[in-house]
């Protein structure tokens, strides 16, 4: 009912930590997980007198992201100070970008329930991250770890073009895919290298004017974003249904309780007193630099999907599965380049059994350790008839365990298909001898007991026999009885 009365309007703010070697304004390492306060210097500690200097690699990566999102790169950008007091912010201001962001006016295409949509990107800007507070459990005190201070962040702000939590989820997935393709960020939500806040309002269907929005924070997974938005649509709908009004406020998502609760109202919002950062001069962004970065852009997921369908003749669903993860798509192309006979077979193995292994072990395809060449070899062995499809499935698990080439595993374990008729005959003889009743049944016309007997042979050979061959031979032998 409610879903029919109201429509939701959503926009997302995504913070991405760029995976440069050093921080945004100093030479400190960005390595995650180092001992507290060891990756710091006077600049990122905000010591009196220390000054920021922009890391050029950060700028280049940010331009790259802007271009991949079809943004217009600014000819001139500057940094601004966002002033607020907090113990994790050593200067008590954050260097960010206010009115002249690095890039603006872009777009991102998403596919939700088979429908294509475009979400406009409002702006992409650079800023420094803050430190991390650790609240002591047994003491009334908090500690600060400044290792994260000055990590390069890219904030990507969408226009309010998202109309359902599912679209929000797809937007995030697609954005992450692109960022992974660009190799600019680890996009690891657990380590905080990708964070997302959401703005959401609802309005009666058909109304042009936007409703009052709330800002949602503290979602730690893409699913969390979806759930928080679903909750908030419901909550706002209930408030309106009861004749209430929505307060403009920031709300925190509680994953465990599955609900949002107020954090601060608009009146309590900080006045950040933005003004141009006087320690960093405005940057003129060279046209040639932008062009050279544009030329260096990798093939992006959308284009790759088209190419997979066209060049490899893959069904769209399989192609899409492969393309979503750059590593997987690269792996597919490597394997399909070695096993050229049928790319679909390669795709099936990857999206099927290999994906299964990945999920089971929660590993990335690189970590799984099956080389594209090994996968291709395994498929070739099936073609050659050296192994059966059934053996192949088990073999894959062995390959993961041993990291060995399938041919070597098959040899050492004696998994080669039994092709020698004499050898098979001996086994058949044993099976017939051991199962007099089914044999009599067969002779009496119960032809379907053959399946049982084939099964017995397969069992006796541990799957190494070719089922069709066994079937044919059995029939031949028994007809002669």
């Amino acid at each position: 009912m409610r879903e029919e009365r109201y429509e939701a309007v959503m926009g997302l703010e995504v913070h991405v930590q760029l995976s440069t070697k050093s921080k945004i304004f100093c030479g400190c390492s960005t390595k995650f997980g180092a001992e507290a306060n060891t990756k710091t210097c006077p600049v990122c500690l905000g010591l009196p007198g220390a000054l920021p200097v922009l890391n050029r690699e950060v700028l280049h990566r940010a331009i790259k992201v802007g271009l991949a999102l079809d943004c217009r790169t600014a000819k001139m950008m500057k940094f601004d100070r966002k002033n607020y007091f907090y113990p994790d912010l050593p200067k008590d201001f954050q260097i960010s970008q206010y009115d002249l962001p690095l890039a603006a006016n872009g777009r991102l295409g998403i596919l939700t329930d088979g429908k294509e949509r475009t979400v406009r990107i409002k702006r992409v800007h650079l800023e420094e991250d803050a430190g991390k507070l650790i609240h002591m459990e047994d003491e009334d005190a908090s500690l600060v770890d400044f290792n994260r201070t000055g990590m390069p962040l890219l904030e990507i702000v969408s226009e309010p073009d998202i109309s359902s939590p599912e679209e929000a989820y797809d937007y995030l997935t697609q954005l992450k895919t692109i960022l992974k393709y660009l190799e600019v960020s680890d996009c690891n939500m657990e380590e905080g290298s990708l964070r997302c806040d959401a703005n959401i309002s609802i309005r009666p269907k058909g109304q042009v004017e936007l409703g009052v929005k709330t800002e949602l924070k503290n979602m730690n997974t893409f699913k969390g974003v979806k759930n928080a938005l679903q909750y908030e649509i419901k909550r706002q709908g209930e408030v309106l249904d009861e004749g209430g009004t929505i307060k403009q406020e920031t709300r925190l998502w509680d994953e465990a309780k599955g609900r949002t609760s107020p954090m601060r109202t608009k009146e309590e919002a900080f006045d950040y007193r933005y003004f141009p950062e006087p320690d960093l001069v405005p940057f003129i962004i060279d046209k040639e630099l932008v062009e050279s970065i544009r030329k260096g852009l990798p093939e992006l997921p959308r284009r790759r999907l088209e190419r997979f369908i066209e060049d490899y003749k893959l069904p769209p669903a399989a192609a899409s599965l492969l393309v979503n993860e750059k590593e997987v798509a690269d792996y597919f192309e490597d394997a399909a380049g070695i096993y050229k006979k049928d790319a679909k077979v390669v795709a099936n193995w990857i999206t099927g059994d290999i994906q299964g292994e990945l999920n089971k072990r929660s590993l990335s395809i690189k970590e799984l350790g099956i080389k594209p060449n090994d996968l291709a070899d395994m498929i070739k062995m099936i073609d050659e008839g050296s192994i059966t499809g059934k053996i192949a499935k088990g073999l894959l698990a062995d390959m993961v365990e041993t990291k060995m080439n399938p041919r070597k595993i098959v040899e050492s374990k004696g998994l080669l298909q039994i092709k020698d008729k004499g050898e098979l005959d001996k086994i058949l003889y044993e099976v017939i001898k051991a199962n007099p009743k089914p044999v009599i049944d067969y002779k009496n016309g119960k032809v379907n007991v053959l399946t049982f007997l084939v099964g017995q042979v397969m069992k006796a050979t541990k799957g190494k026999a070719n089922p069709k061959m066994v079937n044919d031979l059995l029939r031949e032998r028994m007809d002669k009885l």
Binding site: L47, P48, G49, L51, P52, N83, P90, F275, L280
Partner: protein, 481 residues
């Protein structure tokens, strides 16, 4: 051979040392004795330790080839020296020992300078009288009842009183030139970007410059030669070749065109100061220079503009003194810690400027104050650009009066602010300026003359100043202590 080295200039001491007529040990002993003799009356030096001197002599032993080998230099208390306390004359930084050297300090160390005592200053460089320091006021060596000017009052008084051979100051609105003028020494504010600000505890980042305070113009060129230059650690420093400033020390102003801005000879300016400056210009005319009255029409807005921009930047720069990481901490919960630390740690002038700066940056006021001030700042710069198309330099009084009495303006901030009325425009425009002694009042107080030139044209300043110094016969006059 003399033993009272405190009377001599750096270039004279250099000559004595290179002729093996004396050693850094003897020179520093003379200065150290002098500090112990007079500092209780002058209070120019706020921290002095003979052990530090020994350490400095050890450190500089092998720097014989250095441009400042064996020269005792006093450093304003807002420039970081590794391991030595730096407080900006404030309680809030008590005990803070930076783990790094300012770039100018690195340069001084490389050239064999002896880093002597810390020079007193107005708290956080907010002031024109050196009265707001938590170490108590500095007294003018020419008259102990009078102020030495500020904020680099300690640096200027130390050089005038022989407590240092030369000194480093910083100038945001006149803080080098005005005290130099009031103490009868030479002070130069370089072009914005000429000297690295890395390690200078910021007051107003877009206006601050470090510069020399010396006994004569030759020493000024000598110290500027050491500290000038591009620094990759300061994004606002300019990558331009640094000339050898000693080459500008020529006794010749033939053909030099001097502009005399009528807006600087207004009502309220002391009659003796005015006469002294006019007579000085006439002397330069006799030496071959030409002068003409010019107009800098936006001069009257300079002080107002400055007191928006400088406090705005300061309010943000000083936010970091919050009790979290270093310096003073007054306990309490988070908010109380902030409040208590800053209430106790900052003096009243600092609080006044923080509140002023916070106000002008606040949402709703930003456009009316800060943005407007930036616009006027551009107009002021354009005034200078226009004049420098036709003139080599501009000559004005450095300050409207000679040194005033201690306590005279403490409770009248506006009248205090107006003592920088002639020096502020150069900071807003980013142009270089020098103050040199040009006469004495009947009460035997020094009067200073300010020379301004276009950006990166310190050479003209030094040439005109040197010629004037050589011909005015004022040089070498020192207060009797």
């Amino acid at each position: 051979m003399p033993e009272d080295f405190y009377r001599f200039t750096a270039h004279e001491i250099k000559r004595f040392i290179s002729n093996d007529e004396t050693t850094p040990v003897e020179v520093t002993a003379s200065i150290s004795d002098r500090i112990e003799e007079v500092n209780s009356r002058v209070n120019a030096i706020i921290s002095f330790d003979r052990n530090d001197v020994k350490e400095e002599l050890r450190r500089t032993k092998d720097k014989r080839a250095g441009k400042l080998f064996g020269i005792p230099v006093a450093v304003k208390d807002n420039i970081c020296i590794e391991g030595r306390q730096v407080t900006c004359g404030s309680r809030i930084l008590k005990g803070f020992r930076p783990p790094y050297d300012a770039t100018v300090i690195e340069k001084l160390k490389k050239e064999g300078a002896i880093l002597l005592g810390r020079a007193n200053m107005d708290e956080f460089a907010f002031g024109s009288s050196c009265e707001t320091s938590s170490y108590g006021p500095t007294n003018n060596p020419w008259d102990f009842d009078r102020i030495p000017g500020g904020s680099s009052g300690g640096s200027a008084a130390a050089v005038a009183a022989g407590e240092a051979t030369m000194a480093l100051g910083s100038d945001t609105g006149g803080s080098i030139r005005q005290p130099a003028s009031l103490c009868g020494v030479v002070g130069l504010k370089p072009t914005y970007g000429r000297v690295s600000r890395y390690g200078l505890i910021a007051f107003a980042s877009s206006l601050d410059q470090i510069g020399p305070i010396t006994k004569d113009v030759r020493d000024c060129a000598l110290l500027l030669n050491v500290i000038a230059g591009y620094d990759p650690k300061d994004s606002t420093s300019v990558d331009m070749k640094v000339p050898d400033y000693s080459k500008s020390l020529v006794n010749d102003v033939k053909g030099i065109k001097i502009g005399i801005p009528r807006e600087y000879f207004i009502e309220g300016i002391d009659r003796e100061v005015k006469e002294s400056v006019i007579n000085s210009v006439k002397l330069l005319e006799r030496l071959g220079a030409k002068y003409e009255e010019v107009s800098l029409p936006h001069t009257e807005y300079a002080v107002g503009t400055y007191y928006i921009i400088a406090p705005a930047e300061a309010s943000s720069n000083l936010a970091r003194f919050d009790g979290v990481q270093y310096g003073l901490r007054k306990p309490g919960n988070l908010i109380d810690m902030y409040k208590n630390t800053r209430s106790v740690g900052f003096g009243s002038e600092v609080k006044r400027r923080i509140i002023l700066g916070t106000y002008v940056l606040s949402s709703g006021y930003y456009d009316a104050y800060y943005l407007k001030a930036l616009g006027v700042r551009t107009k002021i710069k354009e005034d200078f650009d226009k004049i420098f198309k036709d003139f080599d330099c501009i000559i004005t009084p450095t300050a409207p009066t000679a040194a005033f009495k201690i306590g005279e303006k403490v409770d009248d901030p506006i009248s205090m602010y107006l003592s920088d009325i002639f020096t502020i425009p150069a900071n807003l425009a980013g142009i270089p300026g020098i103050s040199i002694p040009c006469g004495f009042t009947k009460g035997d107080l020094p009067i200073g003359l300010q020379i301004l030139a276009k950006p990166f044209n310190e050479e003209t300043l030094l040439r005109v100043a040197y010629t004037f110094e050589k011909n005015s016969k004022l040089c070498g006059r020192r207060p009797n202590l």
